[in-house]
Every structure is written in structure tokens, then in C-alpha cells.
């Protein structure tokens, strides 16, 4: 016996190739026991391939995948202590809800007594609040209910890791936010490691303890949601997670960044060599005002998108181009909104600007 592993999932230099195409290249990743990890990235970034390698539906071309401390390479899916909630659920259409949920239990050897199976199916259905639906056919259920059946079916065998492949993608917005809370609660209560694959950054940020941002087959950043948002590791992460304004500039020897309109910005990074850089600035880090005070830049509002509690403005700044600015509303009056065509002054705290090599 090995000592109790602290990581439920571990990738050691994992590469996956399909013919000439490299889907995942040299990934190292450790998912601590009981964590809720989101693999986040655009389609084709390799996140689903990673999930499928954990599930046992793909084998790595190089490197090792460890589950609960044991190398899982070559172990077929049906022998792995992980279960998956598939995209669009993959529920068995010829079974009713009970038969779907009982499927995993019926595969156990030695066989479980029928009473035990029906007791555990009942528990699982209760957990996802579907107790009254035991005899329903799958096609008689709504998307949200099917989602819960898929959850119950995957959790009934008490896996050590639950894999979720874009589980909320097929649901409407309201249901999605309700399920986000539900999934989070479920994960806390069960203490099972959850690995979620999503292309929706909001989903990743709101549910998980750790976000693993991926692009082109490699990991760009693995950190808490707050860290990923506040301190993106590179320009890709800054761009992909949340909205970002990108300003071209040149890092000078003195440590200041000179923007294209000639203004200078103190750099927070001492590790960069002088040269071309890109400054990333969150829309909500920019202040917008009608008064022309000691503002950094002046510009004209060209477009406004009303969001209810806030408004998103496109501000055209001479010599810099268009900046996206999000401004919270503090009162429910027209005065709180700036109209397109108005001249405004914008300013920001240099500390909120992230500087990356261009």
C-alpha cells in the first residue's frame, strides 16, 4: 500500500497526439483531494482531452495520469474509480430514471442485493431532488431534470472523482445559475473531487476552488478564481477570463511604459526587459467622469450598452483608440448614465494595469 495520496488526480508530463495533431502537450497538473477544479479554455484547447484521459476514454501518448496515487495508464474506463457527467448527459434512452441510476450499482461484483440497490438509488434521487420521478422515461424529462439524473447516475457509485463535461451548456441562463449553486453545494457536502470542463469563464470562476486556464494544449495558469482574474499570468489569460482592454506601449529603461499617445505609466514589473509591451486593463478598473480633472485621458463616448446595475461604454481616446469602460450605477437616475457623444475624462490606478511582453 502506498501512503494516502494528497492528490486525487495527477498529470505527469502528459502529451496526447492524434496522428500529426498534438491535442495536449506536456501537461503537469495536480488536483488536490476534495478540490473543485475547472479546466477552462476555448474549444480545441485540450481540456476535454484531459478529462477523457482521466475517464479512461483516451490514453496519453506520453507521460502518466495518476488517479488516487496509482498510475492509470492502460486501465480501462470500467475499472476506474471515477464517474462522468457527459455533455448532453448520455442517459440511456431505453431505461427509465431508476434503471439509469441503478446501472452503475448493477455492475458491481459481488452483486448487490436488490434491496440495497433500490435503497441507494432512492438516496441518489433524493440527493438531486428527483424522488417523484423514479419511473419516468428519459425523453419525458426536461433538460434540467435530465441533468440531475446524470448527476445521480454518476454519483451513485460514490466515485473518488466526479468528471463534468460542460454539464450546464445545454441549460438556459436561469437554470444554469441555479445548477451552479447546486453543484457547489453538492461538492462541499460530498467532499468528492470535482473536475469540470467548461469554456464559460463565468461558470469556472463562480463554482471552482481552482481554475486551470488552458490554451493550445497547455496550461497557462492554475490558480484560484480570484488570482486568475486579478493577476492573470499572461495576456491570453487576461483576455480569455473577463474583459480586457489592450494598450500597446514601450517599456523604457527607466521602468515606465510609454503609451502610443505619449503618456507614461509606472510599471509594476521589474522582471521585464525594455521593449514592446501590452498593457491589459480591466473595464471596471477605469473611472469615468464628466469633470475634466487631473484625468489621465479625455475622450468621447461612442457607444453605450445598458446592463441594468451598470453600463458599458466604448470611449474613443485620441491617440489610443477605443477603451471599454464599465461603470456601476449608484442611483436610478438618468444622471447616472453618460450619453453617447458626451466628452468624458477617464483615469485608472496604475496598480490595476497588467503589463505583459508584446
Amino acid at each position: 500500500m502506498t501512503s494516502a495520496p494528497t492528490n486525487d488526480i495527477e498529470f505527469r508530463s502528459v502529451t496526447k497526439r492524434y496522428g500529426a495533431v498534438t491535442a495536449v502537450s506536456d501537461i503537469n497538473l495536480a488536483v488536490p483531494k476534495g478540490a473543485f477544479v475547472a479546466l477552462l479554455g476555448p474549444s480545441g484547447c485540450g481540456k476535454t482531452t484531459c478529462l477523457r484521459m482521466i475517464g479512461g476514454f483516451e490514453q496519453p501518448s506520453e507521460g502518466e495520469v495518476l488517479i488516487a496515487g496509482n498510475v492509470a495508464n492502460g486501465v480501462p474506463a470500467y475499472r476506474r474509480p471515477v464517474n462522468m457527467v457527459f455533455q448532453q448527459y448520455a442517459l440511456f434512452p431505453h431505461f427509465d430514471v431508476t434503471q439509469n441510476v441503478a446501472y452503475g450499482l448493477k455492475q458491481l461484483r459481488p452483486k448487490l442485493p436488490a434491496a440495497e440497490i433500490s435503497r441507494r438509488v432512492g438516496e441518489a434521487l433524493e440527493m438531486v431532488r428527483l424522488s417523484g420521478f423514479a419511473k419516468r422515461r428519459i425523453h419525458e424529462m426536461s433538460g434540467g431534470q435530465q441533468q440531475r439524473v446524470a448527476l445521480a447516475r454518476a454519483l451513485v457509485n460514490k466515485p473518488s472523482v466526479l468528471l463534468l463535461d460542460e454539464p450546464l451548456a445545454a441549460l438556459d441562463k436561469k437554470l444554469r445559475s441555479a445548477m451552479q449553486i447546486e453543484l457547489q453545494t453538492l461538492q462541499r457536502d460530498l467532499g468528492i473531487t470535482f473536475v469540470l470542463v467548461t469554456h464559460d469563464q463565468e461558470e469556472a470562476l463562480s463554482m471552482s476552488d481552482l481554475v486551470c486556464v488552458m490554451s493550445a494544449g497547455s496550461i497557462r495558469q492554475l490558480a484560484t478564481p480570484q488570482e486568475v482574474y486579478d493577476r492573470p499570468a499572461d495576456l491570453f489569460v487576461a483576455d480569455f477570463v473577463g474583459k480586457t482592454n489592450r494598450l500597446d506601449g514601450v517599456l523604457e529603461a527607466g521602468g515606465a511604459v510609454r503609451l502610443r499617445n505619449g503618456s507614461a505609466l509606472a510599471s509594476s514589473r521589474s522582471d521585464l526587459a525594455p521593449g514592446a509591451v501590452t498593457v491589459a486593463l480591466r473595464p471596471e478598473a477605469i473611472r469615468l467622469s464628466r469633470r475634466s480633472d487631473a484625468a489621465a485621458f479625455e475622450g468621447i463616448v461612442t457607444h453605450r450598452i445598458f446592463l441594468g446595475s451598470a453600463a458599458e461604454y466604448s470611449v474613443s481616446i485620441e491617440g489610443l483608440g477605443d477603451l471599454l469602460v464599465t461603470a456601476e450605477r449608484h442611483s436610478q437616475s438618468e444622471n447616472d448614465l453618460v450619453a453617447p457623444g458626451e466628452r468624458v475624462a477617464i483615469s485608472f490606478d496604475p496598480g490595476t494595469a497588467h503589463i505583459f511582453p508584446a
Binding site: G56, A77, F86, Q87, P93, H94, Y103
Partner: protein
């Protein structure tokens, strides 16, 4: 008064359905009515039909019990043998075959249809006849093997001739089977054999039932294969009908046999569909 949209649509629908409806009425419904009428009539003095109302022809059915027995035994057995050969083939084509070659392999299944069944069955007559396999066996010392004009030869011909009709519907149902269901089954701990019997087979059952029903129904009316490979020894209802209508000119008796055959086909079809629906849990009719 201008036509409303709904009326126009109805007219279009009617116009589009008219050719098929007229065709079916003239060539299926009318002949069937004629056949039912004939079947309760009497044979004319010089053969043919003479109006009457009697169930004598039906009472006489046992006289052709051998043809019924051969048909009702060999048709399902033939369909079953087709299934045994067709399922693994269809499974390979739909699931295992490299996608690049799939289309080529599937078209190979249909290629035999480019040659007339008559010609191909003649070929089997020679292969199974005394100058074929028995001749070869004789050369290595196994004498007096008779293959032609046996039930075995008829079954072989049936499997050979009807295999593509069985492979196709099964292939279609396996091909549209969602692969993620198989992954979900494995994910939940089911070994491949278990996955096959709990997921793959039940979900391909509509295709299996379509194939079985199709082949069985066609076999119930089969004439050519028993004629050529069964000789005069293994004959089907189809052969009996040709005999009665063309040789004995006993139309009423032939009609009674034909009507009974249609009744059997309808029952077979209904039972098969019921079973398929029950197991697959859907109401889709998967006729190829």
C-alpha cells in the same frame, strides 16, 4: 372566392398523395378484394373461377400443409441465420471499420444486387450440384454427398440472397447509436460484454426487428430459391401458388392459400413491431 391557405395546402397534399394512393388501390386493394372473392368461390369445370360462396377451399388448406410447413419453418430459420451472420458484419461496418473505408465496405454489401438473383442462384445450383462440391468431395474419397435439393441448400441460398437486406437496417441502427452511451456504460463500470447486452443490442433492436421482419416477409413469398435449390422436394407456398394458378388452374384454392399467407404476414409484422417498440422504449418505426 379566393382559396384560403389551408385549403390550398390540403389540395397540394392530396395531389402529392394521389399517385401512390391510386397505385395502391388499383394494384393492391382491388386485387386483394378479388382474391378474397375468388377464395370463397369454386373451380370452374375447365379451371379458373366460378362464383359461389363456400369455405371449402379453406377447409382444404391442409392438403398443402407441406408447403406451409416448409415456408413457416424455413422462412424464420432462414431469417434467423441471416441475422446471425449479418449482426457481426453490421457491427463491424458501423462501429469498428475505419471511417475512411466505411463507405467502400458498405457498398460492397450491396454489390451482389447488381447481378440478378436468378443468375446468382443458378451459380449456386452448379456449386452444390453433382459437378460442384460433391464432385470435389468424391475426389478425396467422400462419396455420395447430396447437397442440392435439400433444406440445407435452400437455407444457404436464403442466407446468401437476403443477407444484404438484413445487414442494412442493422447497420443503420448501429451507425446512429450514440457512442457516448457506450462510454457512459463503461464509465459506470460495465465490461464490454455487459455494455453490448445492456446498451448496444437493445438500442439496435429496431434495426434487428426491421431486418427480421423484412427478410421473413419476403421469404414467406419466396419462389425462386426453393425452385432452383430445393428442386421439387423443398417447396414453399410461393411454389404452390405458381403450381395452382398456372398448372392446375385451381384459382379459388390458390386464392385461399394466398389470403392465408397475407394474414400470416400481417400477424408476423405486428408482433415484430410490438416487440421492438416495447424493448427500445420508443415508437419510431425504423423501416430501413
Amino acid at each position: 372566392m379566393p382559396l384560403t391557405m389551408t385549403t390550398k395546402r390540403r389540395l397540394v397534399t392530396t395531389a402529392l398523395l394521389a399517385p401512390a394512393s391510386v397505385w395502391l388501390f388499383v394494384f393492391l386493394v382491388l386485387p386483394f378484394i378479388a382474391m378474397v372473392v375468388f377464395s370463397v368461390g369454386e373451380r370452374g369445370p375447365a379451371g379458373g373461377y366460378q362464383p359461389a360462396f363456400t369455405l371449402a377451399q379453406y377447409a382444404n388448406l391442409p392438403a398443402r400443409a407441406a408447403a406451409y410447413w416448409n415456408t413457416l419453418m424455413l422462412a424464420p430459420v432462414g431469417a434467423f441465420l441471416c441475422l446471425i451472420v449479418a449482426y457481426p458484419t453490421a457491427y463491424y461496418l458501423a462501429v469498428k471499420a475505419p471511417p475512411r473505408y466505411r463507405l467502400l465496405l458498405v457498398s460492397l454489401v450491396v454489390v451482389p444486387f447488381w447481378t440478378s438473383l436468378l443468375v446468382r442462384t443458378y451459380a449456386w445450383m452448379y456449386i452444390l450440384g453433382s459437378r460442384g462440391i460433391p464432385n470435389l468431395l468424391d475426389m478425396i474419397g467422400i462419396a455420395d454427398v447430396r447437397l442440392l435439393n435439400t433444406s440445407g441448400a435452400v437455407l444457404l441460398g436464403i442466407v446468401y440472397g437476403y443477407l444484404p437486406l438484413m445487414i442494412m437496417p442493422i447497420y443503420v441502427s448501429l451507425e446512429k447509436l450514440d457512442r457516448r452511451l457506450l462510454e457512459a456504460s463503461a464509465d459506470l463500470g460495465a465490461k464490454p460484454v455487459s455494455t453490448f447486452f445492456s446498451v448496444t443490442l437493445p438500442l439496435s433492436l429496431p434495426g434487428v426487428m426491421t431486418g427480421v421482419a423484412l427478410v421473413t416477409i419476403l421469404l414467406l413469398g419466396e419462389y425462386l430459391i426453393p425452385q432452383l435449390l430445393g428442386g421439387g422436394k423443398v417447396f414453399f407456398i410461393g411454389n404452390a401458388l405458381v403450381d395452382l394458378f398456372l398448372q392446375s388452374r385451381n384459382w379459388p384454392f390458390g386464392s385461399a392459400i394466398a389470403v392465408t399467407l397475407v394474414a400470416v404476414v400481417v400477424v408476423v409484422l405486428m408482433v415484430a413491431m410490438r416487440i421492438a417498440w416495447r424493448i427500445s422504449g420508443t415508437r419510431q418505426v425504423d423501416l430501413v
